[in-house]
């Protein structure tokens, strides 16, 4: 089956936008193609007149440190992210989540931008970006602007962006400073599709003494139609020492506030609820430990 007729590899954003405009809806953005090309092959997306590859665009395929923030091009691959020492130590959860996407062949071409643009409630990279409170730069309806990542998602598989006209340009992530740290883990099943039963990313900031949680951001997915913060869980953590009692309060808050669903051949609601507990009990102490020690070594990369 011919999945696309023309393949373009523009080197500037303007060129890419001009190409999209010239095809007027009959061309679509592609990055690694690990979602899109399969969607076309399986008939979920129609064959395209042209594909506009964003991974050769200047600035889209690199990362740039700007003080305490890191700019990550949308076309940066999962492998690039896994290979970044800066991210490993200062946005560990992103390395942990991109590190478990597919196998090496998929990570070598699949991009963070593609993961986010696909807008799945359980996209692993997405889960961590939400916990990192990332911002995204987009060209939307001809206008280039920054927005909080949460504003990107409209529904399962649906984002603000029209992939025949808009482009996700880059992400902005504030790196962890002293007493701040992150962690990500997920639960998979050995049968069926590659998406996680549940994933969980957390960002924590401790107080000067390294005891109390000053601030917390947690993302657990999929529990809703779009990736979202677990605000009740965050609330349960803020201001208290990160000990067993606090974690159990967070678990309790998750129980009350989240209502994961049964999804066919993936997980029962009951199991997901249990896994939310398990993940919080695994992720929160790990993030707290990292924040206390200032040491973070990504776990589970390439395997989980």
């Amino acid at each position: 089956m011919t999945l696309w007729k023309h393949y373009h590899t523009p080197s500037t954003l303007d060129e890419a936008l001009a190409l999209l405009a010239s095809y007027d809806g009959r061309a679509r953005i592609v990055a690694g193609g690990t979602d899109l090309l399969l969607d076309i092959r399986h008939g979920h997306v129609p064959p395209q007149e042209a594909l506009i590859d964003v991974t050769c665009i200047d600035g889209l395929n690199t990362m740039r440190l700007d003080g305490d923030t890191l700019l990550i091009g949308a076309g940066v691959t999962h492998s690039q992210i896994v290979g970044s020492d800066t991210l490993a130590s200062r946005a560990t959860c992103l390395v942990e989540s991109c590190g478990v996407v597919g196998g090496p062949q998929v990570r070598n071409v699949g991009t963070l931008g593609g993961n986010v643009a696909h807008a799945l409630p359980a996209g692993d990279g997405t889960t961590s970006l939400v916990a990192l409170d990332a911002e995204v730069e987009v060209v939307h309806q001809g206008e280039r602007r920054w927005l909080p990542i949460g504003e990107l998602f409209l529904g399962p598989g649906v984002s603000l962006l029209d992939p025949t006209r808009d482009i996700l340009v880059q992400f902005r992530v504030r790196l962890c400073g002293p007493r701040e740290a992150t962690a990500f883990k997920r639960i998979m099943r050995p049968q069926g599709v590659a998406l996680p039963i549940l994933g969980c990313a957390a960002w924590l900031r401790l107080d000067e003494a390294g005891e109390r949680c000053e601030d917390a951001r947690v993302c657990i997915g999929p529990v809703a139609k779009v990736p979202a913060r677990a605000t009740a869980v965050e609330e349960a953590l803020r201001g208290a020492p990160v000990d067993e009692a606090a974690i159990e309060r967070a678990v309790g808050a998750a129980h009350e506030s989240l209502s994961p669903r049964t999804s066919k051949y993936r997980a029962t609601a009951e199991y997901r609820q249990e896994m939310a507990d398990v993940l919080l009990r695994r992720v929160l102490p790990l993030a707290a430990e990292r924040a206390r020690t200032g040491q973070a070594v990504p776990e589970g990369v390439g395997m989980e």
């Binding site: 023309h6 196998g103 062949q105 099943r189 069926g192 051949y265 199991y271």
Partner: protein, 935 residues
Amino acid sequence: MSKLNITVNDQPYDLDIPESRTLAQLLRYDLGLTGTKIGCEEAECGICTVLVNGVPVDSCIYPAFKAQGASITTIEGLANNGDLHALQKAFIDHGAVQCGFCTPGLIMTAKALLDNNPDPSDHEIKVALKDTYCRCTGYTSVFNAIHSAASDLRGQGPLAWKAVKTVEPLKAVGQPVAAQEAVDKVTGHARFADDYVFPGMLFGRTLRAAYPHARIVSIDTSRAEALPGVKAVLTHEDVPGENIHGLVYADWPALAADKVRYMGDPVAIVAAETADIAAEALGLIEVEYEPLPVVGDPEFARSPEAARVHEEREDGNLLKHIKVRHGDIDQGFAEADVVIEREYRTPTIEHMFMEPECAIGVPAGFDDEHPKLTVYVGSQIPYEDRRQAARVLGIPEDQLRVRGTLIGGGFGGKEDIAGQIHVAMLAQTTGKPVKMLYTRQESMLFHPKRHATIIRIKTGARRDGTLTAVQAELYGDGGAYASLSDKVMTRATTHATGPYVVPNARIDCYVMYTNNPPSGAFRGFGVTQSAFAVEQNMDLVAEAIGMDPMEFRLKNAQRVGATTATGQLLRESVGLLETIERVDGDMRAGDAPFRWGWREGSKAYGWGIACAYKNTGLGGGAPDRAVAEVEVFENSIAEVRTSSADMGQGLSAVLAQVTAEELGLPVNQVRVLLSDTDLTPDGGPTTASRQTYVSGNAARHAAVVMREALASVAAEHMSVPPDEIRFEGGKLRYNGSSIEIGEVVGWMREQGMEARSRYTYDAPATQPLGTGGDMHFAFSYATQAALVEVDLDTGAVHVLKVIAANDVGRAINPRALEGQVEGGISMGLGNCLTEQYIIEDGVPWSGLFARYKIPSIKHTPEVISHLVEHPTADGPFGAKGVGEITSINTTPAIANAIYNATGLRVFRIPVDQDALLRAIKSGAREVTATWSDVK
């Protein structure tokens, strides 16, 4: 068409090709570099892996124009001036090449790893190869090969193959020999069916049913025929001969006529100039259906309200009722102190051989090489293909030639007809060669699978541990057509006592027609399913009478002098006790006192054991015959020929070895020619673990006949008594002097004789079930112990270690045998933990590689293997079957281990962590739900 500049294996190319190409298509079709294989086109299997600027990518979804200006390395670029790369050598030397279809992908992925990491750990190898699948090897040999190559590349020399202990090897037999195709498989030069091209070749596609069960009202092909580039559109009306085929019963139309009975039923076939046009044409064929009620499961199929899958059959949907009656069942249960009765369910299982089916038809008279209609195909039974195809084509069998190509894995799934008949029809109609390559998704939809079963089993024993009775009722989902259901489920039934002495047995099996994909042969042949039930019931009984499960098995194990439930007296070669003892010894070794189960934090650990036996050969009264031919040439090369198939299991090496042994030739002076109905005599079907025994015997005897002829000519020529001549090292030796074997061939020719022998080997006769005699001429035996870790937080199960002991009679090629053991265990592990082919009311949900997970390298347990060699008198050098026995008891061993770890017994597979955890949390003791229940 656009310009693409690209460097492939250091050679620059300046190409003018369509922008729609993937890198895999570019390599395979534009550059003819067919070493890169396509297994799924889903970015899942990884066997299409090539390096783009040194980085491994799945070439099946990598747009060729994304590689503009890049440097590509493929498997063909690894060897340097004919010198194999260290990885290529190591894959051969460590037995990591079986069918070879995945080998290019594994080697390329491993190369990328070693380029960056000269000394990877096991964990790093797992990370790197996690998404590069192999269905044959079970990966243990792949780890060894990579470590060895890494050592070699570091300048420390390769590592030695980890030899398994066997009896003293002979010159060729008992040696770890590489198959003759091994080098081609590691260099990418091996040719599988899709690697063949012919001038002017057309591409075929098949329109499959739109409903699992429906009457066909009309088929209109006119719009498809009008599409430019379409050369033929055929339906049942175009079938020249009888529109029917089938291996045991002819019940399967080559093209659906009055109705469709499952979603894979072929309704029309198309040949066109390109595969794209053929696919487009399918969409233009208009079929009007009248949907019928769907028969979705075998128990329902037997009920009066179920629709009839084959209306003309007298027995309704009953395909076969199979009975075993032995002793007095009531008396048996009356004698029992403990009776355990349970129900077990196993799902439909997909073979997932890495090479999807492909066939090419070349019309008669196409060129000098093809005077007759020829079908190229990687098939397990070329002569059966010919018989069935000739019938549908309405031509005598002598006008059709089936030429076997290499086979990228079969496991029983390439015994039935796939595209063989269709390509022959299309080639005849169009006068052109026609290739029909199934996509992975089509392969998964179409081909017969392992039967889903429901097994109710009741086991009785005395308090002293003596089994007194087994009663069982089995339901098998035969699917829409009979395929090998009769034989497979007979095996499930006759083996439903397990490898034990059971004085009283009553077993009934009902194989039912349904509207699911047909079920047929799959490694284990029904015994895989019954073992899951039998071996768990054994543990339940042992627990009920308070006996150690190993001791309980030892007490009841079949041994020489025992009689099976089908009334067969076992006279020899019953190595079961020794397999139990070997496994038991290993399992209990170590300083700490042995425990079946224990906890550490939130993890539970448990050992589980299971025994199994499996017949060698067809049995049940079927004549089991193979013919082989041996020819020796003046250059002292011998060629052995038989139509049997090597699908990666290692037959070609076995045949070379037995021939070499008998002729006193070095193995590398024996060539093997397989699978060609014009050039090789009939070796019979490659099924039922029969090839080493039956075809091996045919080759061996043919070699003996050849040797005797050579000896007699030499004796006369040199005036020495023939029995003083020894055959050694390619020479005939006598009295301290020697001559080359080829020279004697020259003398034979001078005398007008051909240095060629042919032998028809008939295996010892067997009796049909129910007659009480020998149903089989040999059985292989095995015991396995599995150590599992269960995460009590998540329910996830990991198999950490498997200890296996297999009684194989005689290890002809211990390295290939280890491959069968490791691969068999991996398949058993998949059967237990990861695999299920889900069908929803006749409609397969598991239509993608991504929806059917076979074990990846990350699942690989530590494997400890013992070969037990209780020779069988009639086997070649004592050998009996090995292909299936290695895979049968892994599933029950794991299930028993889960029980010993957690106290939870699993009655359905695949083991579902979701259900397991919910059971742990609720305090339940039995798990009867599985993955497909998560809805």
